[in-house]
Symmetry: C2
Subunit: 116 residues, 2 copies
């Protein structure tokens, strides 16, 4: 058995993993759902909704912003955090393509050596 190691990870695999990582914490999932339910938000309000300190929530917001999944604009004393719905839609399509690829592929069948 030769060790080919021909392929590193593709850009698609890396991007999908990056987005998945952004969703890999319940606080960030909750933040996105919270933003989806509001129009104008400020970081402090979000922290009030979560069992986390304001600093930690801010950190999670930064992670989502780093991927451009959400956007924030300083507006005087408050900041408007909004969802980037266009990007979220694109990401949704990428996830769908991945899951379709994963689920449509033939699993082990009765004709195979194994039977899982």
């Amino acid at each position: 058995m030769t060790y080919a190691k021909t392929s590193a990870f593709t850009a698609e695999q890396q991007y999908l993993a990056r987005v998945a990582k952004a969703l890999a914490h319940p606080a960030r999932v909750a933040i996105i759902q919270f933003l989806a339910s509001k129009q104008t938000c400020i970081s402090g309000d979000i922290a009030a909704e979560l069992p986390l300190s304001r600093t930690t929530v801010f950190q999670h917001l930064q992670e989502l912003k780093a991927l451009d999944l959400i956007r924030g604009e300083i507006d005087g004393l408050t900041v408007c955090y909004c969802l980037n719905t266009e990007l979220l839609h694109q990401v949704h399509q990428q996830f769908t393509a991945f899951f379709i690829e994963a689920t449509s592929g033939a699993a082990c069948g009765p004709n195979d050596a194994c039977a899982c």
Copy 2:
């Protein structure tokens, strides 16, 4: 501003985050795609496809198995790793519901105080 902190994270938020974490590494994305392209697989072969050691690949496989996204059965000298297509399909639906919630929700519009 009162600190309500009424809601912790829901079970749905936690499960979504857990699955997202499972996909939050390009190696695990690649493993799922690789399994989707084959019927019968052994851990050694998977390691040969990735720029990682066999031990590390095994570790990633264990993480995917912990969530039951993949299954493995010892069959003599080799192990058959297979995708759990039913669960992957369910997970796909959950992700879709999340993304639809996130994208259909109204973003900041021209009538709002902010303009992002």
